[in-house]
Symmetry: C2
């Protein structure tokens, strides 16, 4: 006995001894009321110091696995509720109980799996050049500044940060972000803000509050659009109507036509006016006001996705729709720094009418009490310290360079592809009709290059089968060049055929 | 102009200048194509260094608020999409658009507000002795160890921590917690784990997956029980049946009677076998196996709330239900350290059958992508460093002391009250029939003492009106003594009447 004890390097030894003995008790190798070896014996057998064993034995007693008899030693406690080892439930105990969980899952759970792209994602082998990610390049992260932000905040109110916070969010961060949105031209009078665990939670909470109780919901959005948004809309039971994109944003005439036909149909519109995902298009100012006037006429609340707004590479600042709306309260703006800053910090914000936010706050509390205070306060201090402005300047320069490189490579190696996008972390390409980008992907995968087929961004099955998205934020210059050349070669062979 | 510029102490000056000018542009005080003062002029007016102004002007250009003409200076860019100031939408623009959001909220959103206790919470005036919280006492937090855990982890993989993680959770933490649960006697074969943003998100996700699509759900639980759990069950559309508590846990005979009457009714059971909230009762080993046999016979999945399991003050370790179930997969265990460790770190875990967890993982991804990697990794490193064992030893001692003090005070000042609870951070008291603890609370509030009336922990309206919960974790010894004495005085006057 005690021969199989092995020390690992990275944990206090006393805890390793404690857990080792616990397992022997759990497994039944040590029986109830059995005496443990003396601390001296144990330290000899396990080749650890006697003080270590003493600490371990104390821990076992604290955790209720042993009891001490003064002057005699430590004894194994009766593990109540514990199954005898190898008791496979032959006695008809709950140990034999098996539920077929698949049959217990409802539509929502089943669709969640079906619509979960991560579970249908392409498994790329090592060394593959991957254009599938649009996450930021972690090489740009200024870890030193993040570390300082954490230490600054901990020094100011560490105990507060580690205890419960508020569902609405961390007050200093809310105040900061309200100012931040004001500086984008937003009139914040009558508006309020909810901090969420990133864009996705904010979006899902808004959908869950606006979904009609009696009938299925109906949403209208750009087509193509952000696939996660399509997923959440479907999971929340919305029928989704897509309006084709044009070079300067959503097709306003088509939008108007659809609304005229069914004036009372839609519960909400979901729009990404800046650096739209996947097309990268920035909606023109003219279209912005045209769209807003339509939404007002048909009284359709707008959920504005602030996605990548910070990644403007050129041209004048374009105000978000919620700024265009002035004191109007018809727009719900959902923002996040995840695509620019640190996605690992799950922080997003919902800005909208005060009465709306009041409801969303209660839903947020019911769902997850509140967003990580640590994430919120580190982000706040990081912003306050002025690190964001410094970082975004560096990030913009680097991404702009990669953006132009990727664009140049596409023009050189993929002349047949129509390119869209004015910025952001990806390009969206459209090949001539008939080229199936899923088959193109298979061919490229064999050549060690992967990308995201575009059809998954479209509302209807079979749309956009000749499109694909190239995310370049985490690809080296050399790989961008080589990868796009390979895609070009493969595409040409498809075009010949 | 520029006279109202005011510097604040805690932000880089260049950023303050940039944001100040931005606001002038947004407000329309600076018009499109208007020339900004030269950097020298501006530094004189604002009384900041010229380099600061130069940096601010660069920032304005980067953000697209100005453009530079070489050799001439900086000019205000055309703010496309921007509303003209004072344009209240007289032109019928979207600025006039008002939605009555209250009318747009569905049942779920409205109930979320109605069931939101924080919004009906008692607002205590300064200096009030509050027994309403059962959050940990932040004075016990070992900030130094948390700081070190953060720095250790950042040093090892800072860039990874700040970029996207996995919906399932941070792998090292999952591995650690699987071992941790094994050490509680759980057979982890065939089981898997999902990390969530605390217990509440895990619970809500499980409920959303098990809720029947066709009809209302039906849940059975202890009565009284955790009020947040009741709230989430109701919000997810479950009818809740409560089984009265006895001194050693749920009333098994009553439970059996209810199940016999409607053998196929219930979709799930929600149970808190250890340090049950609010009664603090630990279910006896005999009852644990009796309950498990019933659940198996009627094939009712059990959601086990691991609430406060770590706060065992005496007696032998009692294995959780999921351990009692051995290789059986009928129990879903939801754990969290929030009541013991740091609630600000929103980390909980769901341990259950692998096929179940696979579905829950996709729901988690759809709801919030993943739990804060920072929270998960700091917690992991903190645990790995052995800090938890050190901390829990200290916390147990302190809470046990307060628990015994509070108990003694109740016996001295509230002899009429029946006391329940074997540990944890609160006591649950039952006064003689007819004493309304909400009215008692009103009387005590006037005397500067507040607590949680017990009725909110009961399933049906009008139950437990003579009960209340005393959370002592964040109350000083002196206040525990004085507060309970005051409650006793008030209670007696009610009993006389």
């Amino acid at each position: 006995m005690f021969q199989d004890f092995k020390l690992v390097g990275d944990r206090p030894v006393a805890i390793q001894v404690k857990e080792y003995v616990k397992r022997l008790i759990i497994k039944g190798a040590l029986q109830a009321d059995q005496k443990l070896p003396s601390t001296r014996e144990m330290s000899d057998v396990l080749k650890v110091s006697r003080n270590t064993v003493i600490a371990a034995y104390e821990g076992l007693e604290d955790d209720g696995f042993t009891y001490a008899i003064p002057g005699k030693g430590s004894y194994v406690a009766v593990m109540s509720g514990q199954l005898a080892p190898n008791n496979g439930g032959a006695d008809g105990s709950a140990a034999a109980w098996q539920i077929d969980w698949k049959t217990r899952m409802n539509e929502y759970a089943v669709s969640a799996v079906e619509l979960d792209m991560m579970k249908q994602g392409i498994r790329a082998k090592k060394g593959t050049i991957s254009f599938t990610s649009i996450a930021p390049d972690e090489q740009l992260f200024d870890l030193g500044d993040v570390r300082r932000a954490f230490l600054d905040r901990m020094a100011i109110e560490g105990q507060v940060l580690l205890n419960y916070g508020y569902a609405k969010g961390y007050k200093p961060l809310i105040d900061y972000l309200m100012r931040y949105m004001e500086n984008k031209g937003v009139d914040i009078s009558g508006k309020d803000m909810l901090i969420t665990s990133g864009f996705t939670e904010g979006f899902d909470i808004v959908l869950s509050a606006l979904r009609p109780s009696a009938r299925r919901g109906a949403a209208i959005c750009e087509n193509p659009t952000h696939h996660t948004a399509i997923k959440n809309l479907k999971l929340q039971g919305y029928e989704v109507t897509g309006i084709p994109m044009e070079r300067d944003g959503i097709g306003v005439n088509q939008l108007e036509a659809v609304l005229q036909k069914q004036p009372h149909r839609f519960d909400l519109a979901y729009l990404t006016p800046s650096y739209h995902n996947p097309t990268g298009i920035v909606m023109s100012p003219a279209k912005r006001s045209a769209v807003m006037k339509l939404m007002m006429r048909y009284q359709i609340p707008v959920i504005e996705d602030g996605f990548n707004e910070e990644l403007r590479y050129s041209g004048a600042h374009v105000a978000p729709l919620i700024a265009t709306a002035g004191q109007g309260n018809g727009v719900i703006y959902i923002g996040s720094f995840s695509k620019v800053l640190f996605p690992g910090l799950r922080v997003g914000w919902v800005l909208g009418d005060r009465a709306l936010i009041d409801h969303l706050e209660s839903i947020k509390r019911a769902r997850s009490i509140h967003t990580s205070t640590l994430d919120q306060s580190v982000l706040y201090q990081y912003l306050l310290n002025g690190n964001f402005d410094k970082y975004i300047k560096k990030a913009r320069m680097e991404y702009k360079r990669k953006y132009e490189l990727a664009k140049a490579c596409c023009e050189a190696h993929l002349p047949e592809a129509r390119l869209s996008g004015d910025g952001g972390l990806h390009l969206f390409l459209t090949l001539p009709e008939g080229v199936d980008t899923r088959r193109l992907l298979e061919a490229c995968t064999d050549q060690g290059v992967i990308f995201t087929p575009g059809d998954r961004f479209f509302i209807q099955e079979g749309e956009g089968t000749n499109t694909f998205r190239l995310g370049f934020s985490r690809v080296t210059d050399e790989h961008i060049e080589r990868g796009i050349r390979i895609i070009g070669q493969q595409a040409r062979s498809f075009l010949k055929a």
